[in-house]
């Protein structure tokens, strides 16, 4: 009775806030529903096959890829596609589709233990853990320990985990049923301290991603069942299973990190009875997730919008755009969703942008400007992001086809441009 009222409340508030033009109303409706029935998430996932995705970077895209892969056999899948990754967002998505037998939920790192308990998820996919918004979330080691305790208490959950990330390996190491994947790790700065004994983690020099605790506590990369390997021509990747099966991973989404996430998804899908070949074929069709890499007409020119929220994400993305010489706009905010302290800018290897025409923008363009100054990156400062894109198009000093202008923003900076009127 109570849950029916809660569901009705969720729907009503969602509909109202949509009508009032206050976005999808996902969070507002979910919050209202949970107030009426705090057990609503349990009730809405009961009887469904639930898969959860968490990690510092790549959650939203991986959630989408997993939803698509698990739906490749024609099963109806419900998912919180908007990136509202706390229980109110989960509830709102689940209410919107009561019938789907499968649910794929993106989960905020801190909320993973609670959501795992509530949903009794069959599958949990763990991507990576690195520093992110230190002023408002917990330190990354604390998150790894929270996960570890929660997973140890969930013996019926299949955990698909990136074994190349020592913090993820520590978190998943206490779980009963783990499918380890070598998906790579490009950001090592948060991984050098051994989470088991506080000694030092040493990464093998062969680039295999293998690692072990140099202090000798015995903590080392677990044996993996699938490995990400670049193909000979370097343009795509293979997923190689330990039993010898090989699948080519060709995605419409750019970036090594997305390929790595796709491999984790294929392994997860296989535990649910989906052939990895079918999973990869379905994932290959995904061209845009929540606006990441979307092109928009802004400031009288075409802009390609990219999201990077923290040093690990920036490193991956700068790698991806480093080959280009065209103008680049970097937009930095420090609002609540971004974290109020942009000190992390000094952990990002902006030095690789030297020689490119760069425009610094966003609420914290001056913090960025100081960082770029010391990175040897000559740049313009333009407080308004749309004007900044215009300025970048006008300052195409390297005479490279400026279309589209690459724009990288952190969370709210990206969101603002995505929502901007063209």
């Amino acid at each position: 009775m109570r849950s029916r009222l809660a569901i009705t409340t969720t729907r009503a508030v969602n509909a109202t806030s949509r009508r009032l033009g206050r976005g999808q109303g996902t969070v507002a409706g979910g919050r209202a529903g949970l107030k009426v029935d705090p057990q609503l998430l349990q009730r809405l996932t009961k009887g469904r096959h639930v898969a959860l995705v968490s990690g510092t970077n790549g959650k939203t895209t991986t959630t989408r890829l997993l939803a698509v892969a698990l739906g490749s056999d024609g099963t109806d899948v419900v998912s919180n596609e908007t990136g509202s990754n706390m229980p109110p967002g989960h509830v709102a998505a689940l209410v919107a589709n009561r019938k789907a037998p499968r649910a794929v939920l993106e989960v905020d790192e801190i909320y993973l233990p609670r959501v795992l308990t509530a949903t009794q998820a069959e599958i949990v996919v763990l991507l990576n853990l690195s520093r992110d918004q230190l002023d408002r979330t917990n330190e990354v080691r604390m998150v790894a320990n929270l996960w570890r305790a929660a997973l140890a208490a969930a013996p019926h959950t299949k955990v698909i985990a990136n074994a190349d990330d020592p913090l993820v390996a520590w978190a998943a190491g206490a779980a009963v049923d783990v499918h380890w994947v070598s998906a790579g790790l490009s950001w090592l700065l948060d991984a050098t301290g051994c989470p088991s004994c506080e000694g030092r983690i040493e990464f093998d020099a062969d680039g295999s991603g293998a690692w072990h605790c140099a202090t000798g506590c015995g903590f080392a990369r677990p044996e993996v069942m699938a490995t990400l390997t670049p193909t000979d021509h370097g343009l795509s990747h293979h997923g190689i299973w330990s039993d010898g099966r090989t699948y080519e991973i060709a995605l419409a989404l750019p970036g090594r990190f997305n390929v790595a996430n796709a491999l984790l998804v294929a392994v997860a899908a296989e535990t649910a009875g989906i052939d990895p070949a079918d999973a990869f074929a379905a994932m290959a069709q995904v061209a845009e997730v929540a606006g990441r890499f979307a092109t928009r007409e802004l400031g009288g020119t075409t802009a390609r919008l990219m999201l990077a929220k923290n040093p690990a994400g920036w490193s991956e993305l700068l790698d991806l755009v480093a080959k280009d010489q065209g103008p680049l706009v970097v937009s930095i905010n420090a609002r609540i969703a971004d974290g109020a302290d942009p000190s992390w800018l000094w952990d990002v290897p902006f030095e690789c942008l030297a020689g490119r025409p760069v425009v610094a923008t966003g609420d914290r363009c001056h913090d960025l400007s100081v960082r770029l100054h010391y990175a040897g990156v000559s740049h313009l400062v333009e407080t308004d992001p749309i004007t900044a894109i215009q300025t970048a198009a006008d300052n195409n000093t390297n005479n490279v086809a400026p279309d589209p202008i690459d724009v990288i923003g952190n969370y709210t900076a990206f969101g603002e441009l995505l929502a901007a009127k063209t």
Partner: protein
């Protein structure tokens, strides 16, 4: 032709104390010295090797576990204390600030020995963490600096011994948090602070002060640098920004 003497700047244990972007302090010191013609070697001193000999040492923020390990390594290694006795300059931030005191709490709340470069102790605070913007005015008697600005994020309460001078008095934020209204500490050529940002990005005058000590000269003898990016950041952070919407086109 004689090679100019090399200024060696070491960032201490970026693998343990690199969590809050404070590695930027070492980079800022190095570039400012280089831009003025000094030959600089910037060293990233990782924790499993002997601490290199340097003229300036920077310590940054870190998590509780790595902080304990860093303190133990520095005490066992001995180089830092010896170099400070020989006149080396130290900038210690947040967890690094606590480490260079005499004792600080670990994750388990037991007290651990610090390196003892500054006569102060840190205890675990009982309230919520101190998180947010800080402004502070340098205490009279210390080398003069313009208003300090930074971002603090710590759960510790630091109490200075009577023979240790606070760096500044807070005008916004928490700082040392012991009820004295002070922020940071200074003793000889050792400066401790809770300020991130990193602190030298927000306060380039402090960078020049540290460099003047390391190079045994006066700040006034330094060639002025193009600090327009710093100036714009300071103006914005200190609330003097004239108009956020104004189109400001500055080439740096």
């Amino acid at each position: 032709m004689t090679a100019s003497p090399k200024l060696r700047i070491a960032v201490i244990y970026p693998d343990l104390l690199g969590t809050y972007g404070d590695g930027g302090n070492g980079l800022i010191l190095a570039r400012r010295a280089e831009w003025r013609g000094t030959n600089v070697e910037l060293l990233q001193a990782i924790s499993d090797a002997a601490l290199p000999e340097a003229d300036v040492y920077c310590l940054g923020g870190g998590e509780d576990g790595p902080q304990v390990r860093a303190a133990r390594s520095l005490i066992d290694d001995g180089t830092l204390s010896r170099r400070v006795a020989q006149g080396a300059v130290v900038l210690a931030v947040c967890a690094g600030y606590q480490i260079v005191g005499t004792s600080f709490p670990g994750a388990d709340e037991t007290l651990h020995d610090g390196v003892g470069l500054l006569n102060l102790t840190t205890a675990k605070g009982i309230g919520p963490r101190a998180v947010g913007e800080v402004t502070a005015e340098v205490v009279e008697g210390n080398p003069a600096l313009p208003t300090l600005t930074g971002f603090e994020n710590h759960g510790g309460v630091t109490t200075l011994a009577t023979d240790t001078s606070p760096l500044a008095l807070v005008t916004g934020g928490i700082g040392n948090g012991d009820g004295s209204g002070t922020e940071g500490a200074i003793s000889g050529r050792v400066v401790g602070t809770y300020l991130h940002g990193p602190v030298l990005a927000r306060n380039p005058a402090m960078a020049d002060l540290l460099l003047s000590w390391a190079l045994n000269t006066e700040v006034g003898a330094f060639m002025p640098l193009d600090d327009s990016a710093h100036d714009a950041l300071r103006a914005e952070r200190l609330g003097h920004t004239s108009n956020g919407k104004r189109r400001s086109k500055v080439r740096h």
